[in-house]
Every structure is written in structure tokens, then in C-alpha cells.
């Protein structure tokens, strides 16, 4: 069962999942999204919540609907990059906040990041 985080509206968490599928390429421009009912069943949530998901995706210009046919992924040029950058900005923001709490300076942070990156590279080789 999909685990939702407390304190964040469920529809926003599903929007995030769908955006993730767009970033990873699982969902491509022109792909048809599952129906409200299918998504409700998949996440075991209320169909009303899924309707909010669709409204939000539409508002963010990530999808378009064709009456009676379904909802499709709208992949305009540059959109994928925007989505990636948006997610990356969130991750980085979070990281900076946490590392600052530990008393790291910018230099400390960069050095630690560099080291960790190198180490990771070695492990993967």
C-alpha cells in the first residue's frame, strides 16, 4: 500500500508521484493517464481526491483533457527540464537548511559534498 506522509494533502502527494513518473520518463508526452477510478483504486483513496489531482495537473499545464476520451500528458519542450529543476531546487533547499543547522559553512558543505560524491563514485565503479 502506498504510504502517504502526514500533514500534506493527499492530492498533492499523488501529483508529486505523477510528476516523478514524467521526470523519469515512465510517462511521456501524449500518454494517456489512468482513469480517476483506476488511480483511486491504485492509491486506495477517494475518487474526489483524484479529481483534485487532475485539476491540479491541469492547472500546472502538465496535462490536457479530451472530453469523453481521457486525460493526456502534455510534454512541451523544456517542460521536462523545468520539472527536474523544480524538484532539484527543493532537494537542494532542504539540504542547505539541514546542513546549516549542523553549523557548516558554505566551504565545509562544498568539501563534504565533494567527498561524498567521490566516495559514491568509487562504490559504483
Amino acid at each position: 500500500m502506498f504510504k502517504f506522509v502526514d500533514g500534506i494533502p493527499i492530492y498533492l502527494q499523488i501529483v508529486k508521484e505523477i510528476k516523478g513518473s514524467m521526470i523519469s520518463g515512465k510517462l511521456k508526452g501524449g500518454d494517456k493517464l489512468p482513469s480517476v477510478r483506476e488511480i483511486a483504486e491504485q492509491y486506495q483513496v477517494n475518487p474526489n481526491t483524484v479529481q483534485r489531482v487532475f485539476m491540479e495537473l491541469d492547472k500546472q499545464s502538465l496535462t490536457y483533457s479530451e472530453r469523453g476520451i481521457g486525460t493526456f500528458v502534455k510534454m512541451e519542450p523544456g517542460l521536462l527540464e523545468d520539472l527536474k529543476n523544480e524538484e532539484a531546487a527543493k532537494v537542494i533547499q532542504n539540504f542547505i537548511e539541514e546542513i546549516q543547522k549542523l553549523g557548516y559553512s558554505k566551504n565545509d558543505m562544498l568539501k563534504a559534498l565533494d567527498n561524498a560524491w567521490l566516495k559514491r563514485g568509487e562504490q559504483h565503479d
Binding site: P9, Y11, A40, Y43, N48
Partner: protein
């Protein structure tokens, strides 16, 4: 819209329900959450006319609940209401003969989704299977109000998940669903609106997504906060 106004009920020395007031809108899944013995089942039994309220009223789309309107409410307050020797199909046939709005095709489809077959004997079903079959019966009616009493109670985690899935796929937005549970966490993801109940007193809490956004907490945490002494 189902309008429950000032409904009270007492048993001998104990008050089971005090001045219960709820407004249930069409197309919504509404939770009534609280511990065992808090009055949830009493309210549901009043709604399905198994019990008579001492005072107060229930109306559907502005009309007072009467024997004629009773047929608009679907609910199983106990899943042991059919003779044990019957098969699931037998129970569904009986149900169909009672209720014009019962949709047999839909019932079969829902059964399939939870891996039950119509020829199974009710006496051979486990608690989880019984809960699934009873739920499929209840939501196969095109009723204005469907009430489900503790659909997750005493059911193992796998069956719980199937029940949640069955509700999310089987719910029709032409009706209103009122679900009770003492398992707040498990039900939270399904609900549009929520009421809490304790010691027979019902409190309107609000739209679940709004609560998550504004209070930044789960319903379980909120319940404990509301009733903290």
C-alpha cells in the same frame, strides 16, 4: 443531502447518543471516527431504521425519513444477517428481491475484484471474506446513503487493503457514504469529511485535505489533540 438533526438515544440508564447533528453531502465519503462504545453503531442503526431515536430527525433531500424513504439507505450493521447455509449468490438473490436498486452485475464485478465467487457458502467465509462480501452487497445498491459500520474491524492487513480498494473503486458519486471506524489511520486516505465521536457526542471536524494542509497533522493526532484533557 442527508440531514441528521439533534438525534438522541438512550438505553435504560445510559445515553448512547446526545443531540447528534450531521449534514452529509452527495458524492462525499464521510468518516465517523471514535473508539468502540462511543455511539457510532447506535447512530447507524437509527439511520437504517433498526432502532428508533428518542428525539431528533433524519431527512433526505429535505424530506423526513419515512418507511417509504427508508429504501434510500443501504447498510449492513452486521454481516451475519443471512442464514449460514446460504451461498453468496443466494444472499444476493434475497437482497435483490428486497431492493429494487440492487445491481447484480455490479455485485458480481465487485466480488471478482476481491477474489470471492458466488457459489461460496457464507458459513465457510473467514471474517475478512465476510466483511468483503457484505461490503460488496452494500455498495451494489444505488442508494442515496450507504452506511458501513467498522468495515476494517477484525480484518487482517491484506483484506483491509482489499476493502479500502473496493470502497475506492466501488463508490458511486451519486450517493453518500458514511463509514465508521475506530481505526483512524487506516481510513484517513479514503475520507472527504470527518466527524469525531466520543461518549455519544458528535463533533464536526471538517474537510480532511484542509486539515492536513492547515494543521499539518494526521487525523489520529488530531483526535488525540481534540480529546486531550
Amino acid at each position: 443531502m442527508i440531514d441528521i438533526q439533534g438525534v438522541s438515544k438512550g438505553y435504560q440508564r445510559k445515553t448512547a447518543l446526545k443531540n447528534a447533528t450531521m449534514k452529509l453531502k452527495q458524492g462525499k465519503i464521510v468518516g465517523l471516527l471514535g473508539p468502540n462504545g462511543s455511539g457510532k453503531t447506535t447512530l447507524l442503526r437509527i439511520l437504517v431504521s433498526e432502532l428508533r431515536a428518542d428525539s431528533g430527525s433524519v431527512s433526505i433531500d429535505g424530506k423526513k425519513l419515512s418507511p417509504a424513504l427508508k429504501a434510500n439507505i443501504s447498510g449492513l450493521t452486521t454481516s451475519d444477517f443471512m442464514p449460514d447455509g446460504m451461498t453468496i449468490q443466494g444472499a444476493a438473490d434475497t437482497y435483490e428481491s428486497f431492493f429494487n436498486d440492487f445491481d447484480m452485475e455490479r455485485f458480481h464485478q465487485l466480488l471478482k475484484e476481491v477474489d470471492l465467487s458466488p457459489d461460496m457458502k457464507i458459513s465457510s467465509l473467514s471474517k475478512g471474506m465476510k466483511s468483503k462480501y457484505a461490503l460488496a452487497l452494500a455498495i451494489s445498491r444505488k442508494a442515496k446513503l450507504i452506511v458501513l459500520d467498522e468495515p476494517l474491524d477484525g480484518v487482517d492487513p491484506v483484506a483491509r487493503e482489499e476493502i479500502l480498494r473496493l470502497i475506492s473503486s466501488g463508490f458511486s458519486q451519486d450517493s453518500t457514504l458514511l463509514v465508521t471506524s475506530h481505526l483512524i489511520n487506516e481510513l484517513e486516505r479514503l475520507l472527504d469529511e470527518v466527524y469525531f465521536i466520543r461518549d455519544g457526542e458528535i463533533r464536526y471536524i471538517g474537510d480532511v485535505e484542509t486539515i492536513r494542509a492547515e494543521k499539518k497533522m494526521s487525523l489520529d493526532e488530531l483526535y488525540r489533540e481534540v480529546y486531550r484533557r
